[in-house]
């Protein structure tokens, strides 16, 4: 049995690492829950953003935060552009899965053509910084990610609950016809939401560039875990997505510490199955 300190450290690292799952899940959950569009290319967009941040930082010495300020709006535009295609071809839930799978493959190939299949590492001074709290180490980048993800999740949740646009989006998700009868222009709002989802991929990508080693095939590594996170957090619920991400992150990390690293991949789906069977009321 590992020591309490080790378990505590595993828990902290897991929760912080889960912030990235949550951040990736948020955009996916919004478009799936509110627009009935499943965007498999969400991860590819995040990695595209990560590569651009890497490129700007490594070759042009742009600070990652400035890169993010350019990449995130660009991703918003790409998301809205993608939605134009969904709209143009009247894509449904299943159709969106196929269409965005092909987007993802195209983006993967494009990334590979430009940046090659080699591993890329964006070296920054931030990567090694950490705070020491008691016996525990808290990496500054992961902490920043969680604060940003928390602010986005909370802000988005409030936006959906408190504003007329947010309420209109939730109403249109339930009954688009009746929402339209009361003046909701769902088409216009859908562009906005698709753009926001992709912009969140841009935010996630910025952190991926700082935290992870990049390779084109990595766009698929988060797919399974993040889908489990989206389902556990409930579709269309950004706060749920973040909390579920942290739950999965912590479970994976604890499984690694207590059992062995080989166990971690099955954790996310085990948690998903347990939660689906248990179906607790507070979810």
């Amino acid at each position: 049995m590992p020591s309490v300190t080790l378990l505590g450290q595993a828990l902290i690292s897991g929760v912080l690492a889960g912030g990235l799952y949550g951040l990736l899940a948020m955009g996916l959950s919004l478009s799936w829950g509110l627009l009935r569009l499943v965007n498999l290319s969400h991860f590819a967009l995040a990695f595209l953003a990560a590569y651009i941040v890497y490129e700007l930082g490594t070759n042009y010495h742009v600070e990652p935060w400035w890169s993010a300020a350019m990449v995130v709006p660009a991703m918003f535009a790409i998301g809205a552009g993608q939605h134009w295609l969904f709209d143009r071809f009247k894509v449904n839930e299943l159709g969106s899965l196929l269409m965005t799978f092909s987007f993802a493959v195209i983006l993967e190939v494009a990334i590979q053509l430009y940046w090659t299949a080699d591993f890329r590492r964006y070296e920054t001074e931030y990567a090694t910084r950490s705070l020491k709290v008691g016996p525990f180490y808290i990496p500054v980048l992961d902490l920043t990610l969680c604060i940003v993800a928390g602010a986005l999740a909370w802000g988005t949740w409030l936006w959906l609950r408190q504003t007329y646009v947010g309420k209109a989006l939730r109403a249109a998700a339930e009954d688009p016809e009746i929402a339209a009868a009361y003046g909701v222009n769902h088409k216009k709002l859908a562009y906005l939401l698709s753009g926001i989802g992709a912009a969140y991929a841009g935010v996630a990508g910025t952190f991926i560039a700082l935290i992870a080693t990049l390779a084109p095939a990595q766009i698929w590594t988060y797919l399974g875990v993040v889908f489990a996170v989206v389902i556990i957090g409930r579709l269309g619920n950004p706060l749920g997505a973040l909390l579920a991400g942290m739950l999965i992150g912590a479970s994976e990390s604890l499984a690694q510490a207590v059992l062995s690293p080989a166990w971690s991949p099955i954790v996310s789906f085990s948690v998903l199955i347990v939660i689906l069977l248990w179906d607790p009321e507070w979810l």
Binding site: R170, I178, A181, Y182, G183, N185
Partner: protein, 235 residues
């Protein structure tokens, strides 16, 4: 006339469900459309609400041609629908459902006032304002559906089978509310299977059978016609 429909044809796919229907609703008037199940009543009212496209004919509201207007712009002209089966946003709270009614900026400006009016009309909704609309009883859900329409500050309210699936005592309340809506200044177009009630509340009425208007007139006159007495009242 506030609402003028001329030779409307409406349908799903290749099958027209409403043929050559012409009807009028004047300002402040209550007009009922009665008819059996499957006569095309809901199709007709959905077309007037902008939910369905008319394939032929003219639909004018306060002089404006409506057949080319987009579905989400009907509400801004002052048309509000209380749909069949209520169609509330069941996962959202009662108050959020009402707020959706005043989504457009003109109605939004009067949100607080309209809410007070709706809660005055249906005091029970004030107590349930935070509950998900799907958890309410059928009668209460119908109140939310009517409240949502009133929040839009409409010039005409389209009621589609408001008595469907409600207990008899609540049905009486619903028809009282319809009369109150008119007192408030809005016109009413009511589509109903409850023929007696629908004729009682109406100023004028139309009979729709198999997608066509087969009779129209004052309720008292319609009630005298042998065909209507036989088909709808069983006497």
């Amino acid at each position: 006339m506030l609402l003028e429909a001329r030779h409307l044809h409406v349908g799903y796919g290749d099958a027209p469900a409403v043929w050559d229907v012409s009807l009028d609703v004047g300002a402040g008037e209550i007009v009922s459309v009665i008819g059996p199940n499957g006569a095309g009543k809901t199709t007709l009212i959905n077309a007037i609400a902008g939910l369905l496209r008319c394939r032929q004919g003219e639909l004018r509201f306060d002089g404006a041609e409506m057949t080319t207007v987009k579905a989400h712009d009907y509400c801004s002209h002052g048309i509000a629908l209380v749909p069949e089966g209520r169609r509330l946003f069941v996962k959202m709270s009662v108050e959020e459902n009402l707020e959706l009614g005043c989504y457009l900026s003109a109605a939004r400006a009067g949100r607080a006032q309209s809410l007070e009016k709706v809660y005055g009309l249906f005091p029970i909704l004030r107590d349930k304002r935070g509950q998900p609309a799907g958890e309410l009883s059928g009668g209460q859900q119908q109140m939310v559906a009517i409240g949502r329409a009133l929040m839009a500050r409409p010039r005409i309210v389209l009621f589609d089978e408001p008595s469907l699936g409600l207990a008899p005592t609540i049905v009486d309340d619903m028809f009282d509310i319809i009369a109150k809506v008119r007192q408030d200044g809005a016109a009413v177009l009511l589509v109903e299977q409850n023929v007696l009630k629908a004729l009682e509340v109406a100023d004028r009425a139309y009979v729709l059978e198999q997608g066509r208007i087969v009779a129209e007139g004052l309720p008292a006159e319609l009630l005298k016609q042998p065909h209507i007495r036989e088909a709808y009242l069983g006497v």
